[in-house]
């Protein structure tokens, strides 16, 4: 593709892909290492218990540690990488779409690994040893597809929220958002009527019986929350 002066233009998707690739390689390795180490520690704990013949023990499923990637990466990307991208000439919109691509990939891959582990390794451990994870806690263990898509939607929502909150922290919006969250938790929770509103929200994103509806709601909510970044992107240098 050439511009009016005959110079080669990269397609928008190529630019987005280039930025997303740098996000995967830069800053997020910290998240990979941390979650990897935690997962290894959990696996080692389980293996030792099995080898030594301990029964009746329970353990957190190692795949839960992968979720650290979904919590740390948005923070690192929005706080560390953003300034460097803008400084080298990456367009703000390109950054916006590239991060969305990053988070979709993280949600897809981590959900897959977690679901595979839940339905293979964790099941094999059985026989007096209990391995619990989010899939079990939220009742997403009906089948592979239910577990996978439920996690995908949930992780996408988590990343969208974390990225948005982290991105606006050095501005007044960030403070307002933080205060709002604290107020909602501390005021809504003890008040019965308001607590019902909180319960309704969590039922919607975590416990809705229909997996497709639940996933769809999470994806839509993620998109809506993430889209608010465009407002702040305009002002942020």
């Amino acid at each position: 593709m050439k511009d009016n002066n005959g110079r080669t233009k990269n397609s928008k998707f190529r630019q987005i892909r280039t930025v997303a690739a740098v996000n995967f390689k830069r800053a997020t390795p910290v998240a990979y290492v941390l979650s990897g180490l935690c997962a290894i520690a959990m696996i080692a704990d389980i293996v030792i218990d099995k080898v030594t013949g301990k029964t009746g023990n329970s353990s957190l499923a190692p795949y839960c540690m992968l979720y650290l990637v979904c919590v740390l990466s948005p923070v690192l990307i929005s706080c560390v990488n953003y300034g460097k991208f803008i400084n080298i000439g990456v367009n703000k919109k390109t950054f916006f779409y590239a991060c969305a691509l990053n988070y979709a990939v993280y949600a897809a891959v981590i959900s897959f690994i977690a679901t595979v582990e839940r339905f293979t390794a964790d099941t094999l451990l059985g026989n007096g040893y209990n391995v619990y994870g989010i899939i079990d806690a939220f009742g997403w263990d009906g089948n592979f597809a239910a577990a996978y898509f439920s996690q995908f939607g949930f992780l996408l929502l988590v990343q969208a929220v974390v990225h948005t909150l982290a991105f606006m922290q050095n501005n007044a919006y960030g403070w307002v958002a933080d205060i709002l969250i604290v107020v909602i938790i501390s005021v809504f929770t003890p008040v019965r009527a308001l607590r019902q509103a909180e319960i309704f929200f969590f039922n919607l994103v975590l416990f809705l019986p229909n997996v497709w509806a639940r996933t769809g709601i999470c994806v839509l909510l993620s998109a809506a929350v993430y889209a608010t970044n465009l407002i702040y992107l305009k002002k942020r240098r």
Binding site: T8, K9, N87, I88, R237
Partner: protein, 253 residues
């Protein structure tokens, strides 16, 4: 090509960095942007690069209003040598190529060789002057219509500075595009710049050919700058001095 129409930029509602700047830059070449500390030079560049929105007025490139979300594709501006990915220089060049299809990789390698840059060295291991060289190299190789260079020779030794100015002249002195260079090394840039923009207190106080502006009163560029921005007793009455290059007519969009 570049138009500022009564552009004002205020930070936090009270600090006025740019105050009603109206300017039209049509001719290609090397522009020298001068101003004292806090005059508004960096804000000027940030507005032009689409990094920050204006408080009022409009900034346009080729008739199109500058959008901060979708910043102009034909402007290259690397603001600071400090905030870069800790990649090898070779990888930074490849990355620049990935986000900018027009990036002139062979020219970048030529500059790297001319400045003696080791492409396998990681960015954070470089000295400050070398980091500035890398960011200047990336900006000059961008092949964009407008290149903004904010203190591009900071940390350069005198020989390297001369090499840079000659490179700048070769690249942008011959109708490739517009290069706007902000520097405090006034008398050095005078030999290489075509046009001069002086900003003081957020306003433009001079926009003219370098030669015409200095020959008028037989001053060096440094003397002219000091006279226009030196203070109350410097002879500058606060009015915008028009050079012959400014026509004042509206730009059709």
């Amino acid at each position: 090509m570049i138009e500022f129409e009564n552009v004002t930029k205020k930070y936090r509602g009270s600090v006025t960095a740019l105050s009603g700047i109206s300017l039209r830059i049509r001719e290609k070449g090397v522009y020298c942007l001068l101003g004292r500390n806090g005059a508004g030079k960096t804000t000027f560049m940030r507005v032009l690069a689409g990094r920050i929105p204006v408080s009022s007025g409009g900034a346009y490139i080729n008739g199109k209003k500058i959008d901060v979300l979708d910043s102009p594709v034909n402007v290259a501006y690397i603001e600071t040598a400090k905030n870069q990915f800790n990649m090898k220089i070779a990888d930074l060049i490849k990355f620049s190529r990935g986000i900018n299809g027009g990036f002139d990789e062979s020219f970048a390698l030529e500059i790297a060789e001319s400045f003696g840059l080791d492409l396998n060295k990681k960015y954070n291991s470089l000295s400050f002057g070398t980091k500035t060289m890398v960011t200047t190299m990336l900006a000059l190789s961008s092949n964009k219509d407008v290149v903004l260079l904010d203190e591009p020779v900071l940390g350069f030794d005198p020989i390297t500075r001369r090499r840079f100015y000659r490179l700048l002249r070769e690249r942008y002195g011959n109708s490739r595009g517009i290069a706007i260079v902000s520097t405090h090394l006034i008398d050095e840039i005078a030999d290489y710049a075509d046009k001069l923009i002086i900003i003081d207190g957020g306003k433009t106080v001079l926009y003219d050919d370098v030669k015409r502006a200095t020959e008028k009163n037989g001053e060096t560029l440094g003397e002219l700058f000091e006279r226009l921005t030196g203070g109350k007793d410097c002879g500058h009455d606060g009015k915008f001095i028009y050079g012959k290059g400014y026509t004042g007519e509206s730009y059709e969009r």
